[in-house]
């Protein structure tokens, strides 16, 4: 069998993403007695209480029954919350699935998408392994640069992806910036705003994307239950757009991809999120203050803002810092893969974990600075 001949050119050169191994294996490999995951921007508080109860009480016999193929009840609830018809919402197996659905719905080989070079990689990956050109623009002051994106548009541009706030830099566009961008981008292409971390932001200037859809019918928004709602293990995300746009995306989406427990937990999380969001924001704010202070003491540059994460510039290359921290039981995200070599990204968690991280980071930085490095 000549497997190579079967593989499309754009898949042949593509490398599969390798997720991290389970904790017990990583701890054994690195000889660490404990492991704190500070790499995936998860919420350590866990899901809102009502969602936690739904998960705990999940009746095993329900596992034998197919879920709602289009997350009917969840869409009704989301629609009520957002003030839009349920048909304007499409629920997926995490927001990664809806990214894929949107690209499949609107792009064909020869088309292109435009996004930033230093952002969540999945827009670029899905485009590339689908044979779609990903046009990448540099950030300006660690933020998406609207003009740079507009400059890359041509008649083959089908989708513009804006990560707002940006992962990993935490910068975000305000309502006015987004409106200006949408006006200049025109109606001939889809503008996706990925709001995976929107619930961490408490700023009246943050865009009301749902409200803007009346004026800009080409606007699509992505949201997720993985971050603030702490349902990352159940994989639930969704997109919202106009009925016409969502109807097209639904054609390229797989029904039944969101399991029944995930749908029920997300539904419960929505109905019990007020105190959960407040508590999470407080936790992130305190964690941010602690780690930023520790980095200032160590004279390490940081970049952060919105979102439950912080970028730290490391005195050695980020990959070696990652391995050194892994040996101490702290798993961070290296930023080489985000095209920020020499930086790590740290998830902001509860204070005891952040204090422990800050102490270990300080020890490692001092050890690095004190050691005689051959040159």
């Amino acid at each position: 069998m000549n497997l190579e001949a079967l593989i499309p050119e754009y898949v042949r050169g593509f490398q599969a993403y390798v997720p991290s191994k389970p904790d017990h294996l990583l701890m054994r490999e690195y000889g660490a007695s404990m492991l704190h995951r500070l790499n995936n921007n998860e919420n350590p508080l866990g899901p809102p209480p009502a969602a936690a109860r739904v998960i705990a009480a999940f009746p095993p016999e329900r596992a034998a029954i197919y879920p709602s193929g289009d997350s009917y009840d969840l869409r009704q609830s989301l629609g009520a919350r957002l003030g839009i018809a349920a048909d304007r919402i499409l629920v997926g197996n995490g927001s990664c699935e809806v990214i894929s659905s949107v690209i499949k719905a609107f792009c064909q080989p020869g088309d292109n998408i435009v996004t930033a070079d230093k952002t969540f990689a999945v827009y670029e990956w899905v485009a590339e392994f689908s044979g779609i050109e990903a046009r990448l623009t540099p950030l300006r002051d660690y933020a998406f640069d609207p003009q740079a994106m507009l400059d890359r548009i041509d008649r083959h541009t089908k989708i513009l992806f804006v990560c707002n706030p940006n992962n990993p830099t935490g910068t975000y566009w305000t309502q006015q910036m987004l409106v200006d961008f949408l006006e200049q981008a025109g109606e001939d292409r889809i503008v996706v705003v990925d709001e995976a971390y929107r619930e961490y932001i408490d700023d009246p200037e943050y865009p009301d994307t749902i409200g803007l859809m009346e004026r800009f019918p080409n606007l699509v928004v992505f949201r997720t239950f993985s971050k603030m709602y702490a349902l990352a293990g159940l994989r639930v995300g969704y997109l919202a757009g106009t009925e016409a746009v969502v109807e097209v995306v639904r054609r390229t989406s797989v029904a039944y991809s969101v399991n029944v427990q995930a749908q029920q937990a997300a539904l419960a999380a929505l109905e019990d999120d007020r105190e959960h969001i407040a508590a999470t924001r407080t936790l992130v704010r305190e964690g941010m203050r602690l780690v930023v202070g520790a980095c200032r003491d160590l004279e390490l540059e940081t970049v952060g803002g919105a979102g439950n994460y912080l970028m730290i510039r490391t005195p050695i290359n980020d990959m070696l810092m990652y391995r050194r921290l892994m040996k101490r039981g702290m798993m961070v995200r290296t930023m080489t893969g985000f095209r920020f070599p020499g930086w790590i990204r740290v998830t902001l968690r509860e204070i005891p974990v952040m204090a422990s991280f800050a102490a270990i980071l300080a020890e490692e930085v001092h050890a690095i600075r004190n050691q005689r490095v051959p040159a």
Partner: protein, 440 residues
């Protein structure tokens, strides 16, 4: 850097692996090379290699077997790949030290592969599953040396700017690197036309910086192995205040290749000030140039977070690896190898890559055998006789045929100096051979 095989520049054929099809196989290569615009001299080496390898292995092939022939014009070279299935293929003649004896019928039979190995620019052997043997041969185009070009004047003022080079930009940059007398120039940069064609073929990646319309420097990368890239440079023409040019180039180069399929990036070109932000220090190789002892400093950076593995080997390699893995915080499990020397085949095989400019031979184990120490010694003696004074051995930790060489390497004076993580099948251990005093 994306390497693409263009269907309009390649041809493939599956032939019965029988002597009767040899003329067709040869004709395929000859006419194909002609069609792709290669001259007689470039094509001739590949045709000869095809003739010798096809006829030698067709005699050993089973009656119903086939051979896949792929010829590809890669712009700067013509690449021929032969793929077939064979249990225990005879590879001894690929040893550089193989001597043909007119008195020995077996020796005469092995003359063919030896001629093939020496008539091409490069030859690589890979072994796949189900007894698959892949012979990859290439013959480079002939390129003129670099013409003299001016270097940037002093006093340039505008900010440095990154430039994504065209093939012409890179051709000019390569000529500047030669004119500047930059140390550690790889062979492809010494021939600017070759560098330009390699860039066009996607076989190297490059970024340049410019200032006031002058090219001020550049950095290049090229696959060292299927999983590891090698970085060349940064080369800077003129002063580089606060290492601005180096930092700009390295940040951009690492960002550019960070989402490539490669797992690591190695730099083997001597000391780089302020390397810590970009690289891990791997170690130094002890080489000689003329009467002078020189140390080749090696740096590395991982490109993917996940890196782990198990190494089966014996002392003294195990202790060396343990120390290196600990220093680099690399998660590796070292287990005692259980190979039985009595079960080894008689003859070991080594591939040799020569760099005459650096008086350097890089030896790579292909097959372990009972004669490993003697074979290494024979290679050293023969290569010294040809004026080579520096010897490196690259050994894959994930390949038992390689790790079997650890004891014979120690026995013959080779010293493990550094480990390049994930650079081969497993990690790549690099040995050098401390040169005897004197000029090489």
């Amino acid at each position: 850097m994306k390497q693409a095989k263009s269907r309009s520049h390649s041809l493939s054929s599956r032939l019965p692996f029988k002597g009767a099809f040899l003329p067709l196989a040869m004709s395929l290569v000859e006419k194909g090379a002609e069609g792709f615009g290669y001259g007689r001299r470039e094509a001739g080496g590949l045709v000869l290699a095809m003739e010798e390898l096809f006829s030698f292995y067709a005699r050993q092939a089973t009656a119903d077997s086939a051979i896949d022939v792929d010829l590809e014009d890669q712009g700067y070279r013509l690449a021929l790949t032969l793929t077939f299935r064979m249990a225990n293929p005879d590879l001894r003649a690929f040893n550089l030290t193989w001597n043909c004896s007119l008195d020995s019928e077996e020796s005469l039979e092995l003359l063919g592969p030896m001629l093939a190995a020496r008539s091409v620019s490069s030859l690589r052997l890979d072994f796949g599953t189900d007894d698959q043997v892949v012979l990859r041969l290439a013959r480079n185009r002939a390129y003129p040396p670099a013409a003299d070009v001016p270097l940037p004047p002093g006093g340039l003022k505008s900010p440095l700017r990154l430039l994504e080079p065209s093939a012409d930009d890179l051709r000019h940059f390569a000529a500047m690197a030669v004119a500047a007398g930059s140390p550690f120039l790889p062979g492809f940069l010494a021939r600017p036309g070759m560098a330009a064609d390699m860039l066009a073929a996607g076989h190297i990646g490059a970024l340049l910086i410019e200032q006031d319309n002058w090219i001020r420097g550049g950095v290049l990368w090229h696959p060292l192995t299927g999983s590891c890239l090698e970085l060349y440079g940064p080369y800077i023409f003129g002063p580089d205040a606060d290492a601005q040019g180096v930092t700009l180039l390295l940040d951009a180069a690492v960002a550019r290749i960070s989402r490539s399929p490669y797992r690591g990036l190695v730099r083997r070109q001597g000391v780089l000030a302020g390397f810590e932000r970009f690289f891990d220090f791997l170690g130094e190789l002890h080489l000689r140039r003329g009467d002078a002892a020189i140390r080749s400093t090696c740096y590395y950076r991982q490109l993917k977070e996940e890196s782990s593995g198990t190494v089966y080997c014996a002392e003294p390699l195990a202790s060396f690896l343990d120390k290196q893995y600990d220093r680099l915080c690399l998660p590796r499990q070292i287990r005692q190898a259980g190979s039985d020397p009595a079960r080894l085949r008689d003859g070991s095989v080594l591939a040799v890559e020569l760099e005459h400019e650096r008086s350097l031979a890089i030896l790579r184990p292909l097959c372990a055998g009972k004669d490993m120490a003697a074979n290494l010694t024979a290679h050293l003696d023969m290569l010294r006789g040809e004026g080579i004074g520096n010897f490196l051995v690259e050994l894959n930790t994930g390949r038992s045929e390689d790790t079997a060489f650890a004891a014979p390497l120690a026995e013959t004076g080779f010293v493990p100096r550094l480990v390049i993580p994930d650079a081969g099948q497993g990690d790549l251990v690099v040995y050098d051979h401390p040169a005897p005093e004197g000029r090489v």
